[in-house]
């Protein structure tokens, strides 16, 4: 797989949703073993519109609407992968994926090991995560950190249009199960798709903004918030480096530690709850690997420990926001 190329300077505007669709379309065109399966991916066009138009182009065999039975169709995706196909399974939201957790954890993540290396499971499972759309507790949680706990699967969180466009191909080339978490608030996000980038690697985090005073480490839907916070901080003379993890498992410790080595301060932004979170894991790794680089305690900006509420002001208050990130950075640099 080719590594991330340097930006060419030529780009075209697109949305996160369109970038995902382009990635899917390319995968379907390039490998006849690839098919998309999930709730409302066909006639409806995907509940977030990602697969709109693909049914007409590829037909119902490869753009396969499933019943509302997450365990059944995710398990079928795992079985189809065992059987030589390259299924892309879409689950509407991470909340619903809990109904398929048995299949993901007990089968997809474990079959290779339990079989002594005989059975690899090249399945890709995509799902929406995160809050910010006033959908209430059962459609708004960020549980990707739970999945990142599990050995045997790769967990990705594309935050940019480039990653949305190219992560799927890399995921499909992986012989093991890959989970892709798409933040619901990003689908309409517009970005400039770099024409020179034709592949991404799944092993490295990306420094999205260089800085010298503090490392803001984040991923997914929190990246735009972290970038906005960095902009505000720049106005105050604080230079924040923003690290986009991109892959939540395995974590790219090297990029994180290199950044902390430059800035000597770290703020982790994670939309999941603080207790037992991925943010806790990263904080712990920084303590283990870069303790003597630190000039201040590691700070965390996470969601309030509450089921995500519906009312706008409550939901906003529950989630990391640019202002809360700015506050955390100020605390750590003061």
């Amino acid at each position: 797989m080719s590594k991330r190329k340097a930006p060419s300077g030529t780009s075209r505007p697109t949305t996160y949703r369109e970038a995902l669709r382009e990635g899917l379309r390319e995968a379907l065109l390039q490998d006849e073993r690839v098919f998309l399966m999930g709730e409302d991916v066909g006639r409806y066009g995907g509940c977030f519109g990602v697969s709109l138009g693909l049914l007409e182009e590829f037909g119902p065999d490869r753009i396969r609407d499933t019943p509302l039975s997450e365990s059944g169709f995710v398990g079928a995706g795992i079985g189809a992968a065992l059987g030589g196909m390259r299924p892309v399974v879409e689950i509407m939201t991470v909340n619903f994926s809990l109904l398929a957790l048995d299949q993901i954890l007990n089968n997809a993540a474990t079959l290779l090991h339990m079989s002594g290396g005989q059975l690899s499971v090249p399945v890709v499972i995509r799902m929406t995560t995160g809050a910010g759309r006033q959908l209430g507790a059962q459609h708004s949680h960020s549980l990707e950190g739970w999945y990142a706990h599990i050995p045997g699967i790769r967990v990705l969180a594309p935050a940019t249009v480039d990653d949305a466009r190219h992560m799927l191909a890399a995921a499909l080339a992986d012989p093991d199960p890959v989970l892709i978490f798409e933040h619901g608030s990003l689908y309409n996000a517009e970005g400039a798709l770099d024409e020179a980038v034709d592949a991404v690697d799944l092993d490295t985090a990306a420094v999205r903004r260089a800085g010298t005073d503090v490392s803001v480490i984040t991923y997914g839907g929190s990246l735009p918030k972290a970038m906005a916070a960095a902009e505000t901080l720049a106005g105050e003379g604080i230079s924040a480096e923003v690290v986009d993890l991109r892959a939540l498992r395995p974590l790219d410790d090297a990029t994180v530690m290199a950044s902390v080595g430059r800035t000597h301060r770290a703020v982790i932004v994670d939309e999941a709850w603080r207790s037992g979170s991925l943010a806790a894991e990263i904080s712990s790794r920084i303590t283990e690997q870069a303790f003597y680089e630190l000039d201040a305690p590691v700070q965390r900006v996470c969601s309030a420990e509450v089921p995500i509420p519906y009312a706008r002001q409550l939901e906003e208050a529950a989630l990391p926001q640019p202002a809360t990130i700015v506050d955390a950075v100020r605390r750590t640099v003061s």
Binding site: S69, G72, F73, G83, Q103, L112, G116, Q118, D174
Partner: protein
């Protein structure tokens, strides 16, 4: 169609009466009235069932001797199902199984040496010591485990069948599971998906009357399993799981129909495990008389008696067969004893693939 034309098979009916079951399912599989087995066919079936029986009896001894550990779920009493069903499967077909899978693995052709070595947790085990009794795998025999989550293998089996269907293959995926799986959503999700998409799936329910220690009647509002399966729009048959010839005939008929593109089929084999659920189970939930009654219908004894009555078997032949089988198991145990341990240095292997891309 909701089910096939009802066909009543005398043996299964009388078996149901003897075992005090409620009224049998709507349909029952036909026996083998007009099959003329090749010479040695019955002997071959008997030998396979005996191999499973003796293998597991040895496992009990080895467990008591602390040579093998973990959960060990014995199949003793149910051998006719694995052996009969495997008669209907071809090399290219796939098998998905449960945690009570020694019989399925051996009947599928997974070498006894590799299974025994796995019980020992050795490097030569069929899962390189990572699986143990509950997670036997053999990719070359398309044996996909070894699933210790009740009903967990069902969606997987549907996926294997889906892969074949999408590629226009005539391969069959056979999924074994117990009566307990009927209480899990995954059975129903799989049945719906398989029937909806007409997947080449043979669902074989080994109804041994108990989900661990809970009897069917105490956990199911409706104990007629074939009727419930048929409600998904697939042919569903019940067969006497203590009669290997009946199982073979029903499985052949079902597998041929699956292979012909008629979608999933369901086969309920009414059977019984003579031993407890696992080595830890004190077996307090079953009456001794019930166990004894079922032991009277031992599938090995049943076939042996038939063969004797037809002049195909005598004491000397039976003894020779037993000696042969025991010698094979001795060899498997000997090889497992001598097999190398999987190095602890390799603990973290096989968490992710080592081959790079399989694309």
């Amino acid at each position: 169609m909701s089910s096939t034309t009802p066909q009543h098979e005398g043996k299964a009916r009388s078996a149901a009466r003897r075992s005090g079951r409620k009224k049998g399912p709507a349909t029952a599989a036909r026996g083998t009235p007009d099959r003329h087995p090749a010479p040695g066919h019955h002997l071959s079936l008997l030998r396979r069932m005996l191999a499973i029986r003796r293998f597991e009896e040895r496992c009990v001894e080895l467990y008591s001797g602390a040579k093998i550990r973990g959960f060990v779920h014995l199949y003793i009493g149910e051998e006719a199902v694995a052996v009969g069903v495997n008669q209907a499967l071809r090399e290219e077909d796939a098998v998905v199984s449960t945690y009570r899978e020694h019989g399925h693995a051996l009947a599928r052709g997974v070498p006894a040496d590799a299974v025994m070595a796995e019980m020992y947790g050795r490097a030569t085990g069929c899962s390189r010591g990572r699986g143990g009794s509950m997670h036997l795998f053999d990719a070359t025999h398309r044996f996909y485990g070894g699933n210790a989550i009740v009903a967990g293998g069902l969606p997987l089996a549907a996926g294997l069948a889906l892969a074949d269907r999408m590629r226009g293959s005539t391969r069959v995926t056979c999924c074994f599971f117990g009566d307990g799986a009927f209480a899990e959503g995954e059975f129903h999700e799989t049945a719906n998906l398989a029937a909806l998409w007409r997947l080449p799936l043979l669902l074989v329910c080994e109804n041994n009357l108990y989900a661990m220690g809970t009897s069917l009647a105490r956990e199911h509002a409706q104990t007629n399993l074939a009727m419930r399966a048929a409600s998904y729009g697939m042919p569903a048959w019940t067969v006497d799981g203590m009669d290997v010839l009946a199982v073979e005939a029903a499985a052949l008929r079902a597998a041929e129909s699956v292979r012909a593109g008629n979608g999933p089929h369901f086969l309920e084999a009414q059977t019984y495990r003579f031993r407890a659920h696992s080595m830890y189970d004190p077996d307090r939930y079953r009456a001794k008389s019930e166990i004894e009654e079922w032991k009277g219908r031992d599938p090995l004894k049943g076939l042996a008696e038939l063969m004797r009555s037809e002049g195909q078997l005598d004491d000397r032949m039976m003894e020779e067969l037993d000696m042969e089988v025991l010698a094979e198991i001795d060899q498997a145990v000997g090889r497992a004893e001598e097999a190398p341990l999987e190095p602890v240095a390799d603990l973290l292997r096989f968490v992710t693939s080592e081959t790079g891309s399989t694309a």
